[in-house]
């Protein structure tokens, strides 16, 4: 059973509430930001960006785009550059996995990633007293000096696989749902196996309004965004990155 997990994100449905960001941090034991952290040093495996169409009131329109690791195809830019082979595209799931135990912290993969989806632990992780009770036992926290990123809640995949094995069957798509998908109140983020034509991402990929970020780079990401609005689709291909369209953190 070879799966190729992917996502479809309906930008028109995203309200920018940020529930996905919170759920992700809680699920994956992302430490609270250290004193002195700014938005460029914080860890946000998924991050919602606000974009607008560059026009003034009353024609100004905004949208929210959640950006996470795009889970590129077999030629993921980060995989080939890691000197320790700490990153690989899992052939069974298509997930681009990062091994924090092997990571040297050279940050070359962060330079290679055009989506800025990789985050470095600039500090030792520290939870305020009492907050350690909220830690998820299924996910290992990472140490200082290593890179981390979204892995489609791999811990949940493992747990689902074990549960399915206990029940004597193989894992199925519905068994494994990443935290952000689960938390999204509008269902803007949908998760599934791209190899199964009936799954939401596979359907989303075929949709005429679908686009992927920076397609021309040839990274073959597995995250398909969708919008009925032209200007949103144009934003994704970034003919003029950083120019014209305002941006701010979610």
């Amino acid at each position: 059973m070879i799966a190729r997990y992917g996502m479809t994100i309906d930008v028109d449905r995203c309200t920018g509430c940020g529930a996905c960001m919170v759920a992700c941090a809680v699920e994956n034991n992302v430490p609270p930001a250290h004193e002195g952290a700014n938005d460029r040093k914080g860890i946000t495996w998924i991050r919602v960006f606000q974009v607008n169409n560059g026009q003034d009131y009353p024609n100004r329109r905004s949208a929210f785009v959640p950006v996470l690791c795009q889970q590129c195809g077999k030629d993921a830019p980060c995989v080939s550059v890691c000197p320790q082979q700490a990153i690989e595209v899992d052939p069974a799931t298509g997930i681009v996995g990062q091994m924090p135990e092997r990571c040297l912290g050279c940050r070359y993969c962060m330079v290679a990633c055009p989506y800025h989806a990789r985050y470095f632990n600039w500090w030792d992780p520290a939870w305020p007293a009492g907050m350690e009770k909220t830690l998820n036992p299924d996910v290992a926290p990472r140490m200082r000096g290593v890179v981390e990123k979204c892995n489609f809640c791999h811990g949940r995949w493992h747990a689902a696989k074990q549960l399915a094995a206990a029940k004597g069957r193989a894992i199925e798509a519905v068994d494994h749902v990443p935290a952000c998908v689960e938390a999204c109140p509008t269902g803007a983020i949908q998760f599934g196996d791209l190899n199964k034509p009936e799954s939401a991402p596979a359907q989303g990929a075929k949709n005429g309004n679908s686009f992927r970020l920076l397609e021309k780079l040839g990274t073959q990401p597995k995250i398909y965004y969708r919008s009925r609005k032209d200007w949103v689709r144009q934003v994704a291909s970034a003919p003029k990155p950083g120019l014209g369209k305002e941006s701010s953190g979610g």
């Binding site: 250290h34 002195g36 952290a37 700014n38 460029r40 040093k41 914080g42 960006f49 606000q50 974009v51 950006v67 030629d75 830019p77 080939s80 550059v81 890691c82 000197p83 320790q84 082979q85 092997r102 990571c103 040297l104 912290g105 050279c106 940050r107 070359y108 962060m110 330079v111 290679a112 990633c113 055009p114 989506y115 800025h116 990789r118 985050y119 470095f120 632990n121 600039w122 500090w123 030792d124 140490m143 200082r144 000096g145 290593v146 920076l214 397609e215 021309k216 780079l217 040839g218 990274t219 934003v235 291909s237 970034a238 003919p239 003029k240 990155p241 950083g242 120019l243 369209k245 941006s247």
Partner: protein
């Protein structure tokens, strides 16, 4: 006081004056160690690097210093393999410069990575497709080679020579120096190239990405040529500087002119290659990735002036100066041209490190800026201080310039 350690017939200042020279550099080194120590103990949050600027001052420094230290392998190659005998006058100095540059770079690299104790992981599970693996392997091997090449220079110290076993070992090792020179050339070719390849393979950064030959992007070859061009320039510059500081003539002017000629020639080749490469990039590679090249230069302060400065101001002009015999004969012009060439290569490394990361890739990115924290600067200065100290000690106690005695006697 320490006259018995100083070679016969050369004049060196008194021990107390030497101490006076050493002390401020030692102080700087101590400060640098403190800065680096902070980064190691408290973590890389002590720097101003962040998730967007994953590479900063240190990586820029590493790249520049390794390019400048290329004189060691290139001079060795020219002298021991191609038998350009005049370069015997500067080979020892070149080896010391190379040793200092490479050991300094590795020192800084150990502070730069998040988990320095895991450095051996690269050797244990190398990713043969990664340019950084290649760099790591080659630089480590080459540092070993440089240390072994430094050994004969060290063993020829006046006092150490008295020990028969050391004298004989130096003699036997020197007989095989051409093997080391050959290995050094092979290693340097690959790691200088791979440092360029680091950026050239980044498909996710169209500013840096280049097509090339088979596995190797054009930056691979451009880095090799620019390093070979600037290596002799740096040796020239340092020799000139040491002559000024020590107020002695250390090499015949013809040797400096030869270095200038070599540097000028290679620099011209580099400028030509880089211009062709830039044109291909502007007209084909970058637009194919969906990024018209002009937009990169829309951000202040990185306007097109930077391209002009890199290729023309600090590339073509010093090349032309160093290739003009009339100007080459005047050491002032020669040293200035050499310094400009070094600056040009530093600018190239800067552009590929910092400008690449400053430029946004996504529509909702911002153009960001970065300036190093004092801890980063301190660590950088530690490398400079370390270099000056090692070179000063080598200059005082070892025979770095074989022509010095003859020049001092006025016999040339």
């Amino acid at each position: 006081m320490d006259k018995e350690f100083i070679a016969r017939g050369v004049k060196r200042c008194s021990a107390s004056r030497f101490l006076l020279w050493i002390l401020p550099w030692l102080a700087l080194l101590a400060f640098g160690f403190y800065s680096a120590g902070l980064c190691l103990v408290k973590g890389l949050n002590q720097t101003n690097m962040d998730n967007r600027f994953a590479f900063g001052l240190w990586i820029f420094l590493d790249l520049t210093v390794i390019a400048l230290g290329a004189g060691a392998f290139f001079t060795g190659f020219l002298l021991y393999i191609l038998r350009v005998k005049e370069l015997r006058a500067v080979i020892n100095s070149a080896v010391v410069i190379g040793l200092v540059c490479y050991s300094g770079a590795i020192g800084v690299l150990m502070v730069d990575v998040g988990q320095p104790l895991r450095a051996w992981f690269t050797f244990w599970s190398p990713n043969v497709h990664s340019m950084l693996t290649e760099v790591t392997f080659c630089i480590t091997c080459y540092l070993m080679v440089l240390a072994i090449e430094y050994l004969p220079i060290l063993l020829k110290n006046r006092k150490l020579r008295e020990v028969p076993s050391l004298l004989v070992f130096e003699f036997e090792l020197h007989k095989l120096v051409y093997v080391l020179a050959g290995v050094g050339t092979f290693l340097s070719f690959f790691h200088q190239g791979s440092l360029g390849g680091l950026y050239g393979v980044l498909r996710g950064r169209p500013f840096a990405f280049r097509e090339g030959l088979w596995l190797w992007p054009s930056t691979f070859f451009l880095f090799i040529v620019s390093a070979a061009a600037v290596g002799p320039s740096f040796i020239l510059l340092i020799t000139w500087l040491v002559e000024k500081i020590s107020r002695k003539r250390l090499v015949r002017p013809e040797v400096l002119e030869l270095l200038g000629r070599i540097s000028g020639l290679l620099l011209s080749v580099y400028v030509l290659a880089k211009s062709v490469d830039t044109l291909v990039w502007i007209n084909r590679t970058s637009p194919d990735a969906g990024f018209p090249a002009a937009q990169y230069y829309a951000w202040k302060p990185f306007g097109t002036w930077i391209l002009f400065a890199e290729i023309v101001l600090f590339g073509l002009i010093p090349a032309l100066v160093m290739l003009t015999p009339r100007l080459r004969r005047r050491t002032g012009w020669l040293a200035t041209a050499a310094a400009m060439a070094c600056l040009g290569v530093a600018l190239n490394r800067f552009v590929l490190t910092v400008q690449t990361l400053a430029l946004p890739t996504l529509a909702f990115d911002k153009f960001l800026s970065y300036s190093p924290s004092w801890q980063e600067t301190g660590t950088f200065l530690a490398v400079v201080a370390y270099g000056v100290l090692v070179y000063s000690l080598s200059f005082r106690y070892l025979q770095l310039f074989p022509e010095e005695r003859e020049l001092q006697a006025g016999r040339y």
